[in-house]
Structure formats: C-alpha cells, structure tokens
C-alpha cells in the first residue's frame, strides 16, 4: 500500500512536450483516473510511473521510495495492465498468471495456491490450461488482471483495460473492476479517454490536455464545476452548451455555459424558479428512448448559428415541433460563466 507523489514532471520527445509539468498527489488506496483524449499525455504519465519511460525532469515517489532515477520497473512494486493485455502467447493462462511469481522465485507450491486463488476471484479457473488465443476478449482481460493481482503490488497501473471489450461487456467489467479495487484497497491509476468510464470508476478524476493537468476533482466536481471550457466540453455527453448570450448584466466577452439536461421547455419549470430564458429555434428532434435530444440555435446570441442541444428526459412528453421557435429556459443556479478569451471560469 502506498500513495504516489509526482512533482513538476516533464517528458519531452524532441519538440513534443508529452507531459509538461504535472504535479499530482495520489492518496493511498485511491482510485485515480487520468482522463484525456489521445495525445494528452495521460499514457506517457502512466508509463513514467511504471518506469517504462524516463522523465525529462521532475520527481516520482511511490510510497517513501523515490523512483524517477534508475529504479527499473520490476523494483517499483507496481503491476500494470495494458490495453492489449500483453499476455504471453506461448504460455497457458496458468503460466501467464504464474509468470511474475516465477520471476520472483516463489516456491512452486505457493505459486500453485496463489494462481488458483486469483483465478477463483476472477472466475477463470476453468481456463487455466488454455492459451490466450483460445480466450475471448473479456477472459483475456481478466487473465491480465489476475496476473497483475498475484504480484501483491503497491500500485495498480491500468492503461485503458476496457477499451478492447465490446460495449455490452464493458459495463459489467467496469463494475467488476470497481468492486475488486474496493475489496483489495490498492492504490490504482487508471488511464482512459472515455469520460463515462472515468466518472463511473474514479474516486477522483484528473483531466489532462496537451501534457498539462486541467482539473483534478471528484467526478461531481469535474462535472458540475469545470474550471474552463475545455473540461466543460470534454466531460459530459452531449457536451456543455456554450454561447455568447450578449447579456448586458455580464462583463463583455463572457460565455454562458449550461448542461443539455438543464435546458428545458420553460413550461416544465415551477413558477418559483429563478430562470434564464432563451428563444430556441428547434431544428431537429432525436428520439433515443430514455431521452430526446433537441438540436437548434439560440436567437440573439453572439453566434446565432451555433448548435445548442437540449436533453429532455422521457418523463417530459411535451411535443416539440421541428422548425419552430420556442421558449426554453435554464435555472440560474445551473449557469456557468467563462472568459471567452482564456476559456477560464468566471465566478458569478
């Protein structure tokens, strides 16, 4: 068990600053998610923690050990699961899981016990004699997790372990993963580009972009109180609406942001609510079963053609005719303001 301390960590590949000054303090037992699109530096950061990539500058501490210098991956007390699972193709499932134990010269009998215990935990006992190529994606992923588990690592590093699973499996795999982490209470760093995964799994989320940390916070903080327009539009599906409302009560060059689920026909709000009303020109309505997405634009805003999305839950059955302009509203407490130049959050 150990926390991780990262101080002004940088990794430059020539002119490319893959990781550009990251400070991060990961608590013991925490499930931390690194969220970002490809090229945001999240995987490079993870690989530096693992020791697969040498930092250009900065410090990494795992527990009370400083590891950024010459500490090789095997001596860091970590276990890693790659997106591809990286199973040894010519070894059976049993031999795959036993591999790290063999490397540490664990006695034969203990290896046997430990592998069986881990395989039981992930319900893959039936497959111990098979080869990786004979397994499905979900089974391979569990073998990879098993192999990581038997090392008794101080830290788990997971690089998009669910990305290669099909959508149906991903939900259950996510649930398994979270339950398992709660059970063993090992510090976990999880890299993903999928914000649903990040929200569902993380105790805290680190949103990264172009090598820098944009925001660190609980899923709720990141969703409700994004620090800038990048986080606001990156987290949440569909993304937060941003528009220059031209409101005279606000300082000039201010963007008003609101989540699609807060943008509803005015008639559904109670009379006591403090509302900001918009004239919403509806272009198209998309029926998605549990929700309806309404696409349109807001008249009188800075960019009258910019697409604004409203997300109506199925409980609102009100007809929304396409091609007409309607009164839509957002509760004032759900509005977020950003500086149009810097993208940074403005209070108020």
């Amino acid at each position: 068990m150990a926390g991780i301390e990262i101080r002004s960590l940088r990794k430059h590949f020539g002119d490319l600053h893959a990781v550009d000054g990251v400070d991060l303090s990961i608590r013991d037992g925490e499930f931390l998610v690194l969220l970002g699109s490809s090229g945001s530096g999240k995987t490079t950061l993870l690989r530096m923690i693992a020791g697969l990539e040498r930092p250009t500058s900065g410090e990494i501490h795992i527990g009370d050990q400083r590891v950024d210098g010459d500490v090789p991956p095997r001596a860091r007390g970590i276990a890693m699961v790659f997106q591809s699972y990286a199973l040894y193709p010519h070894r059976t499932v049993f031999q795959n899981i036993a591999f790290p134990l063999e490397a540490s010269r664990t006695p034969r009998k203990q290896i046997e016990e430990k592998v069986r215990w881990a395989a039981e935990l992930f319900s893959i006992s039936r497959y111990l004699d098979r080869y990786p190529r004979q397994l499905s994606g979900g089974e391979r992923q569990r073998v990879a997790l098993c192999r990581a588990l038997v090392r008794d690592p101080k830290v788990f590093l997971l690089d998009e372990p669910l990305a290669n699973l099909d959508a149906k499996l991903r939900n259950t795999a996510r649930d398994d993963l979270k339950r398992f982490q709660r059970q063993i209470q090992t510090t976990t760093v999880y890299v993903t580009h999928d914000q649903v995964e990040a929200m569902g799994l993380g105790d805290r989320i680190v949103v990264m972009e172009r090598g820098k940390v944009r925001q660190i916070g609980t899923p709720q903080e990141v969703y409700e109180d994004p620090v800038d327009t990048f986080v606001a539009t990156f987290v949440g599906q569909p993304p937060m609406n941003l528009l220059d409302a031209g409101d005279p009560s606000l300082p000039p060059r201010t963007l008003t942001g609101f989540r699609p689920e807060h943008f509803l026909p005015k008639s559904v709000f109670g009379s006591g609510e403090d509302l900001r009303t918009f004239r919403f020109a509806v272009r198209r309505v998309e029926y998605l079963g549990s929700d309806r997405y309404v696409y349109g634009s807001v008249a009188g805003s800075g960019a009258p053609d910019a697409t604004i999305i409203a997300k109506l839950p199925a409980t609102i059955t009100l007809g929304i005719p396409e091609g007409e302009t309607q009164e839509f509203a957002v509760p004032r407490r759900a509005l977020r303001y950003f500086d149009a130049e810097t993208g940074l959050r403005r209070k108020g």
């Binding site: 090789p72 991956p73 095997r74 591809s84 990286a86 199973l87 040894y88 490397a103 290669n164």
Partner: protein, 278 residues
Amino acid sequence: MKRVALYAAALGFVVFAGFPFYWMLVTSFKQNRDLYVGASDMSHIPWIFNDPPTLEHVKLLLGQTDFPRWVLNTLVVVVAVVVITVAVAVPAGYSLARLVGRWGERMGMGIFFTYLIPPTLLFVPFSRLISLLGLQDSLGALILIYPTMTIPFCTWLVMGFLRSVPWEIEEQAMIDGYSRLAVILKVAPRLIVPGILTVVVFSFTLVLQEFVYALTFISSVNKMTVSLGVPIALVRGDVYHWGSLMAAALFTSIPLAIIYNAFIDRFIQGFTMGAVKG
C-alpha cells in the same frame, strides 16, 4: 457455383506451380532423341515419353560430375552462413527495432541499402580482400562473403518482423520482475521464432542461388557449390546437357519445396495472435 470457380482457380494454380516440376522430371528421364526431335517434327508431343525413359542423364550427373561433392559443399556453406546470419542479424535487428529509438529505423534503412549494391560491383574489392586473407579457392571465401548479402537483408527483415510483435509483451515482462537483459535472453526469443525461421529460409535461398561470387572465388571443381558446378560442368560451349541439368535442378528443388511447405504455416500463422487485441 462459387465453389466450382474456387476449385477451378485452385487447380489453375496447382498446374501453374507444378508444371515446372513436371517438365524437369520428364526432361531428366527422356532419351536425347525424344528431347530434340520436337524441333524438326511438329507432330511430336513434347510433354509425354515418346521413347521409353532412361537413366542416362542421371548417371551422367552423378557419375561423371562432382555433383554429390557440390551438394556437400553447398550444405557446408549454407549451414555456416545461416548460423552466422542468425547470430548477427537477429540481435542487430532486435536492438535497432527496440533499443535505439528513432535512429534505429534510419540505421536499419542504411544497412538495407548496402544490400542493394550488386555483387558485380563488389566482387573486385572483395577478391582483393580474399587474396589478402589467403582464402582463394576455398569454401571459407564464400562463408566470409555471403553474410555481406544475407546480414543486411535479414537485419532489415527482423526489424520489420519485430514491428508486428507488440513491444508491450516485453514491457510487461519487465514489470513482472525481469531485467531488460533477462527479457532479451528469455522472453524475446520465443516471440521472434517465426522471424528467425524467415531469416533462415531467406539466407538459405540467397546462398543457394548465388553465382557471381562463387564464380569469382572458386576455381577447383571439387570446391564448387551446386549453383556454380552444375552450369559449368553441364553447359559445354553451346552444348546444353538438358537432361542432366534438369536432373540437377530437380534434385535440389524438391527437398527445398518440401522444406518450404513444412514451414509455410509457421510463417503465415499469426504466432502472436491472442497476445494482443480482442
């Protein structure tokens, strides 16, 4: 209907691939009269035995030339060159692909380009070198020179092959408790077995068909390789001993074809399948 077309196409390929072998076989055992009469007699059917088969050409090849000796020489050279090539090209390709970073690719290209310099250009300086080392007219000359063709090509081949083997498996082994050296010695070899096999086959083939260097460095008949000895002994001026030439080609190509077929699955089979991706 689709099946029929498929089988027809397959049959076409079988005929295409098998015909040269059939032709060699028939020619090797035909009497000379049967071989040459077609040139003047248009009613003669060339692809069947019109006269009874004969062992005359095979006897000429095995009895009156040093063919068995050439086969032995070839085997000695091939085995030595393959061993040298694997010992040099596999570690070289591995380190260029894995350890050097982005310079590896460029150096690999540079090494590959040396393969493109033709032997007809290089044999002059090489002959100087060989005589300096006192290796004229010995198999040692070929064993020394052939790796200059095989190593560059095979290094490049191993690099290309390693690009298809995910680096992550080796990284995983480093995390799982192995040092980099232990990974190279214990984990990597298993992953690149198909690559090594390909190297073996390519250097084998390159050596087997080589002519220019053999002609330059070998003058004694009993030190020749098959590719040199056969044309030298069986083409006399403008007289081609077609029967014996074909017999020699047949005897060398049939074992080769069998070996190729035995290994073809290993080349094509995605050996790393199941290791990565779902």
